[in-house]
């Protein structure tokens, strides 16, 4: 009887978790279909600026990598290479495995180099090892494994509680220990991803050309000129200006409209 209660409780745990996970995506539900169809129609008829605006709006609302990717394509076709590079960067931030976005970003940067010239900024931005580790694993499978380990751990502990001491109880305990390690590892990676996302300050220059300045003032001393597609780090923002840091650690101010944050 007690064993049956334990098993029933374990089943309740699994069911509640599944319902919670399955309901959650449905409750934050989808974009209105006509907007995306309008965007597709605009793209197909070469009204690229209009398509880009709709795709970008849909992407902003739904945080959809595919929508950002399509917005990037529309911006590219419309000749707006800076916004295209930003859109592809946003798509890759949401879905690092999206090879098409990576390819198109490369093509965009090549086109920028041809049209506007290459930026001679040496150096690279470094990413913490734990951020690289957390981004290496796709988010949905990572979450699924962590949640699965969570549920399995509780089920194993409940079942173990109802068993008499013996080999079965020992095995269940070992299984629970392994599952707990998996859960902790997955949870750690998830936490790392959340922290990295919240702290991320990557930006992309969207203006074709922009002159960096020493101070947030058009009359202040000019610094290097940067071109569309250049990756920068946003340091802070103030009254229509954005302070950025280049990969060579040079910092300066750019007009706010010349820089777009990868994370909106």
């Amino acid at each position: 009887m007690r064993r049956a209660r334990q098993l029933a409780l374990a089943a309740l745990v699994v069911l509640t978790t599944c319902v919670g996970v399955l309901v959650a995506p449905g409750s934050a539900s989808a974009e209105a279909a006509p907007s995306l169809r309008d965007a597709d129609a605009a793209y197909a008829t070469q009204r690229y600026a209009e398509a880009a605006a709709i795709y970008a709006d849909a992407a902003r609302t739904s945080h959809s990598a595919a929508a950002y990717y399509n917005a990037g394509n529309a911006y590219f076709r419309a000749g707006q290479l800076g916004p295209a590079a930003l859109a592809y960067s946003r798509a890759l931030r949401l879905a690092p495995e999206l090879d098409d976005a990576r390819h198109n970003l490369d093509v965009t940067r090549e086109a920028i180099a041809v049209r506007l010239g290459k930026d001679s900024v040496t150096g690279t931005f470094t990413t913490p090892w734990w951020a690289n580790a957390s981004e290496a694993v796709p988010l949905m499978p990572l979450f699924a494994v962590t949640l699965g380990a969570d549920v399995l751990l509780v089920v194993l502990l409940l079942v173990r509680r109802g068993r008499a001491p013996g080999a079965g109880r020992v095995l269940l305990g070992l299984g629970a220990a392994v599952t707990a390690l998996v859960f902790l590892a997955g949870g750690g990676l998830l936490l790392g991803r959340i922290v990295y996302e919240s702290q991320s300050d990557d930006g992309v220059v969207v203006a074709d050309e922009a002159v960096m300045r020493e101070l947030p003032d058009v009359k202040s001393r000019e610094m290097p000129t940067v071109h569309a597609g250049l990756v920068v780090r946003v340091v802070r923002e103030r009254q229509g200006w954005t302070r950025v840091r280049l990969a060579n650690q040079v910092e300066g101010w750019l007009p706010a409209e010349a820089v777009g944050r990868v994370i909106e």
């Binding site: 934050a28 989808a30 595919a66 988010l139």
Partner: protein, 633 residues
């Protein structure tokens, strides 16, 4: 009319005219708006002659349908039927209807549709001619083309329709559209994919068209076009708001056929490629809900270009091209640049072309940063123009010649590498020879981006730390541990509550005593002597078992006295207990006096005996607790 022909009856059933007319009406219903729209757009009458089948035997019957669409309500002034001297007329029918339609801007138009049909029987075998049908509208005559019908002798199989010489498709319909396999006629609606060529060279255009074949009006069409990872492409035609149908016969069935999309594809590398099926969710007037349609996949073999390409050959330049060069001025002061505009025009994937690298002796050439491009997608071939503006600075003065610029390309028609050449241009540099300015930039291969992704009709929200979905789902992680914690807490509480302590035992004893006392009182009030003494006996037994820690049923009175004494019960208390036990036994098994007052006194004494036993039990437990504390310390 009796249907004499068993083949037609087998195809159409026992009432062929009913079905033929129903098909005609259905086809008209399907094709009405687009056909009216066509008439509105064209603003002129149309007449069409359809014959089915075009290959039969002398025993078969031939259906001839003449359909005329005339703008307005008046109809045709005169109708001249086709001549068919080698056929006997079995039956004729005529139907006239008026249709109203509106175009995208809401403008309405009226069209009169006249349908005349005839059922004919051939008189002999051979190639028999059905002549033109004509109508006269507003003094102008319109006519169809004649149709030749192949009639085989009786008992022989009909001669199959000849395959038209043009295409890679199995057959061509009367409207000029490629016909799919007749087995598809089993389906009332399908998507047919057709490719103009199944084998091309790298960079050569292959045109893929997807047709919608339907027997009833489409009310909803949600496409999911395939991706073309191995190809770059241009859309030559795509239906925007409403399908424009033409009528075709397939397997004896009348279909309305419309182009969904036509694309020009260019392969960037050799190999065998499959163009995935075009899928769409379609709802028609005849179906309840939508159904998924899938076209046939297409196999395309792309051969590499032949060897021998020029050194500066651009793989995107496959087609036919011509080039022209011009300068902004022919006389310049020394030290100043001139702008050379190179215009390349032609048919081919010019959008994928690189900026040509040109090397002109006597000049320093600065390649352009941008170019102007126009595309012409109006025909079946992708054509376009690219204009590149180069800056040239002469290296010396005097009369200089800008040599002819050669832009190599591969011509699939001739199978050879050719070159589009410009004419040489002569300029004059006045003054001292100039000096180099600027610095050359790298020439970059102009790759193209990959096509857009197909977003689902409803884009699901992304699963990402910046999305609501992620945070909602994250809550699921604490649910299992929380439930487990609840299980532990609830289990602990239950365990604590069910633990046997002194307090719980004493509480239980009190409850039992009260219950027995109430039972005895009730029996006393009811006059049930047996029940009364039984209740008292049970009460005393329970208290004795609790005090002595075990059953007492097998003990004699002497043993009972001894145990009670050992438990610390006073002699008076022992006597009271024993006496009450004896009274209860006597009352149960040898009922005697039943005075209520006496019985009440017995009850009181029994309760007093129970109290004595409880005190003894408590004293024993208190002593045990003290002993345990002393041992612990």
């Amino acid at each position: 009319m009796r249907v004499r022909d068993r083949h037609l009856a087998a195809r159409l059933g026992p009432r062929p005219w009913t079905i033929v007319v129903a098909l005609l009406v259905g086809a008209l219903g399907v094709g009405a708006w687009p056909r009216a729209a066509t008439a509105q757009t064209a603003d002129r009458p149309t007449i069409e002659l359809k014959v089915s089948p075009t290959s039969a035997t002398v025993d078969d019957q031939i259906v001839v349908v003449v359909e005329a669409h005339i703008p307005g309500v008046s109809g045709a002034e005169r109708y001249i039927p086709p001549e068919w001297p080698e056929f006997d007329v079995v039956d004729t029918r005529r139907q006239t209807m008026t249709q109203m339609s509106s175009d995208f801007s809401g403008h309405q138009s009226i069209t009169t549709v006249e349908v005349r049909s005839a059922l004919l029987k051939p008189r002999r075998a051979g190639k028999l001619r059905i002549g033109e049908a004509r109508i006269r509208v507003n003094g102008v005559e319109y006519q169809t083309r004649p149709v030749i019908v192949q009639i085989a002798p009786s008992g022989q199989a009909p001669v199959p329709d000849p395959v038209p010489p043009s295409g890679a498709s199995p057959g061509v319909g009367q409207s000029g559209l490629p016909l799919p396999d007749a087995s598809l006629a089993a389906s009332p609606i399908f998507i047919y994919a057709h490719v103009d060529r199944e084998r091309v060279k790298v960079g050569e255009q292959v045109t893929v068209t997807w047709y919608l074949w339907t027997r009833s009006e489409v009310v909803n069409f949600a496409p999911s076009p395939p991706r073309f990872d191995a190809f770059s492409g241009e859309t030559l035609f795509e239906t925007q708001n409403r399908f424009r149908y033409v009528q075709e016969l397939l397997g004896g069935q009348q279909y309305s056929v419309a182009v969904i999309i036509k694309k020009a594809l260019f392969a960037a590398q050799p190999g065998k490629f499959t163009i995935a099926p075009y899928t769409a969710s379609v709802a028609t007037l005849r179906t309840m809900g939508s159904r998924q349609l899938r076209s046939n996949p297409l196999e395309i073999t792309v051969d590499p270009l032949p060897p021998g390409a020029p050194a500066d050959f651009d793989a995107a330049m496959v087609g036919r091209f011509e080039a022209k060069a011009s300068v902004d001025r022919t006389s310049i002061p020394a030290g100043e640049p001139i702008e050379l505009t190179l215009t390349v025009r032609g048919e081919g994937p010019i959008r994928s072309a690189r900026i040509p690298t040109i090397d002109l002796p006597g000049f320093t050439v600065y390649p352009p940063r941008t170019y102007k491009e126009t595309l012409d997608l109006s025909g079946d071939k992708v054509a376009g123009t690219r204009s590149y503006a180069y800056l040239l600075t002469p290296k010396q003065g005097g009369d200089l010649t800008i040599d002819a610029i050669s832009v190599p390309f591969y011509n699939p028609a001739t199978g050879a590498y050719e070159a589009a050449r410009t004419e040489p241009i002569t300029i004059t540099v006045v003054g001292v020879s100039g000096s180099d300015k600027g610095s050359p930039r790298d020439n970059v291969i102009a790759r193209d981006i990959r096509p857009p992704l197909e977003l689902a009709a409803a884009t699901p929200p992304a699963f990402h730390p910046r999305g609501e979905v992620f945070w909602l789902a994250l809550h699921a992680l604490w649910v299992p541990p929380a439930l487990f914690a609840c299980v532990l807490v609830v289990g602990g509480i239950r365990s604590r509550l069910s633990r046997e302590t002194t307090r719980t035992r004493r509480r239980r004893a009190k409850v039992q005593t009260r219950a027995r006392s109430r039972a005895a009182s009730a029996a006393l009030a009811a006059g049930k002597i047996g029940d009364f003494y039984k209740a008292l006996a049970d009460l005393l037994r329970e208290r004795l078992e609790a005090c002595l820690g075990g059953p007492i049923g097998a003990l004699t009175r002497a043993e009972l006295r001894a145990r009670l004494g050992a438990r610390g019960v006073s002699p008076a208390g022992v006597d009271l207990v024993i006496r009450e036990l004896d009274v209860c036994d006597a009352g149960r098994y040898a009922p005697g006096a039943s005075e209520p007052a006496r019985m009440q006194a017995t009850l009181d004494d029994a309760l007093a005996a129970a109290a004595v036993l409880d005190e003894a039990e408590a004293a024993v437990e208190a002593g045990a607790a003290v002993g345990a504390e002393e041992r612990a310390s």
